[in-house]
């Protein structure tokens, strides 16, 4: 059984800089020496002014960005730990399939796939049968207040707020133990944002750990257990 007090993720002195070869090797600092840890079932909010590297930090943990320095220790339920900073690409793919998920602000899916199928897809990948997957997807879309008449339409035709809820649904329908949330409530109205926050509370009870970026301080305080303030890099 899960030990509630043990860590899910520990980040030590994580730094990221970019080298632009097209600009004669110009170096741009993303963030420096970021250290924090997240326990199981806990939500940590990353805060800081625009440009302080919040999204970059999430992308570096997910390994969309290659870390320049530091360690990213991910712990499994059996207390085994790996350093994501030095895992091979194949290992990262396997962790992405089973251990960590990323929810962005932007919906990236193939055109012409219905909302229901897009949301059910992660379940199908986990081997859930098609009927059950679609049923669970429908329940989740109901909980997020997506109108039923939209279920069989491609989400690429939806409004910004609807797209974002589809994206969240895709990220949480088969939740990984660690979820990285980049502005999950950014373009949502009060009612929808409230529903998303309720969903996040439910995930915490399932001992899912999350790191989130919220632009709205009030919403952040409703779900976050702790906060890490990113510092703006000065060159």
């Amino acid at each position: 059984m899960d030990n509630k007090n043990s860590y899910r993720l520990r980040v030590h002195n994580l730094s990221k800089h970019f080298v632009l070869h097209q600009r004669g090797g110009k170096r741009i600092q993303g963030f420096t020496d970021v250290s924090f840890s997240v326990r199981r079932g806990e939500l940590l909010a990353l805060t800081g002014v625009s440009g302080s590297g919040k999204s970059s930090a999430l992308k570096t943990i997910y390994r969309t960005y290659i870390p320049s320095r530091g360690r990213i220790i991910l712990e499994s339920d059996d207390d085994s730990a790996v350093d994501l900073a030095c895992c091979s690409e194949s290992e990262i793919l396997s962790y992405r399939r089973h251990a960590m998920g990323f929810v962005t602000q932007f919906l990236k899916i193939l055109p012409r796939i219905s909302a229901l199928d897009a949301v059910a897809a992660p379940l199908l990948e986990n081997g859930v049968d098609r009927e059950e997957a679609r049923q669970r997807a429908a329940d989740l879309l109901d909980a997020l207040n997506i109108r039923r008449e939209l279920f069989n339409v491609s989400p690429l035709t939806f409004s910004g707020g609807e797209q974002q809820r589809i994206n969240i649904a895709r990220g949480v329908i088969a939740p990984r133990k660690l979820l990285l949330l980049d502005e999950p409530t950014a373009s949502l109205d009060e009612d929808s944002a409230g529903r998303v926050l309720k969903l996040l509370h439910r995930l915490k009870k399932q001992s899912i750990s999350m790191i989130g970026i919220f632009h709205d301080r009030e919403r952040m305080e409703q779900v976050a257990d702790s906060e890490y303030q990113m510092q703006l890099e000065r060159l």
């Binding site: 632009l20 070869h21 992308k59 969309t64 960005y65 290659i66 690409e89 194949s90 793919l93 193939l110």
Partner: protein, 278 residues
């Protein structure tokens, strides 16, 4: 591990012995200045796991299609080794597929590895019907019972959403997108371990493109084979692949997770390529 490629090279022309050192990314050319030979692939090293989808990108002439043709043995390699871990010798050790004879190569293509060409004329036999093309592959993979063959043909025709009534029509009576789908059905009907795709959607209109990509992706999830996709279209690479390899002047210049290659490219050439996306 499914596929293990060691120092694979292809030189067109009379090699002088210095060709590989005189060409490649660092030299900035693929023509040997000493003898004029063209080095299409220069000491490529690559590993692929059993269910991975690998993309190869690069400008035309960078050697990406040649690399696929070397693996499928459409083109004879100049040097190197390729271990395809489903083909083993009597002592259960993986065999270098570059050493296979014609018969063994035919068996590999029939049962374990399939290729989808940009031009369906290369992948389909236009003297056979659509169903006949698919059946040919199934028979090649060792099925001889008529009933089973017929059922499997219909299963795949159904999968590619072709009307069952058109199974006996000839390929040139179908549209370009439909011919490409017949090629996909043919390639997958033998349940291969590895599928090679050379610009699978180039030249198709965008509505057909999305459908073909969706079809390939869902069949891959269902059947669980590994894929190598060559494309110059980074949109195709983003939607389809997990890992991307960037080639230039015959050399592999960068290898990484697809989202990393697109969002945090390390090599100067990859940065140029990614920053050129419209």
């Amino acid at each position: 591990m499914l596929l293990d490629i060691h120092s694979l090279s292809k030189i067109y022309g009379q090699s002088c012995g210095h060709c590989l050192d005189e060409t490649g990314e660092r030299q900035g050319r693929s023509i040997c200045p000493q003898c004029g030979s063209v080095v299409a692939v220069n000491r490529a090293c690559l590993q692929i796991e059993g269910d991975e989808i690998l993309g190869i990108v690069g400008e035309s002439g960078s050697g990406k299609s040649t690399l696929l043709q070397l693996l499928y043995r459409d083109v004879e390699a100049s040097s190197g080794e390729v271990f395809f871990h489903v083909i083993k010798d009597k002592k259960n050790r993986p065999v270098n597929i570059l050493d296979l004879d014609m018969l063994q190569t035919a068996r590999m293509r029939n049962e374990m590895m399939s290729m989808i060409y940009q031009n369906p004329r290369l992948g389909l036999n236009y003297l056979f019907s659509a169903g006949g093309n698919i059946a040919e592959k199934i028979i090649g993979a060792g099925e001889h019972r008529f009933e089973k063959i017929r059922n499997r043909v219909h299963h795949f025709v159904d999968k590619i959403e072709l009307p069952g009534t058109r199974v006996d029509d000839y390929p040139d009576t179908f549209s370009g997108g439909q011919q490409q789908r017949i090629q996909i059905a043919k390639a997958l009907s033998s349940s291969p371990n590895l599928l090679l795709l050379d610009e699978p959607t180039t030249g198709l209109d965008v509505s057909v493109q999305a459908r073909i990509l969706d079809l390939i992706k869902s069949l891959q999830k269902e059947m669980g084979f590994a894929m190598i996709v060559v494309s110059h279209d980074l949109g195709v690479i983003r939607h389809l692949t997990d890992i991307t390899v960037v080639m230039r002047h015959g050399s592999i210049v960068e290898y990484g997770l697809t989202d990393q290659i697109l969002e945090d490219p390390q090599h100067g050439y990859t940065q140029l390529l990614v920053s050129s996306i419209l």
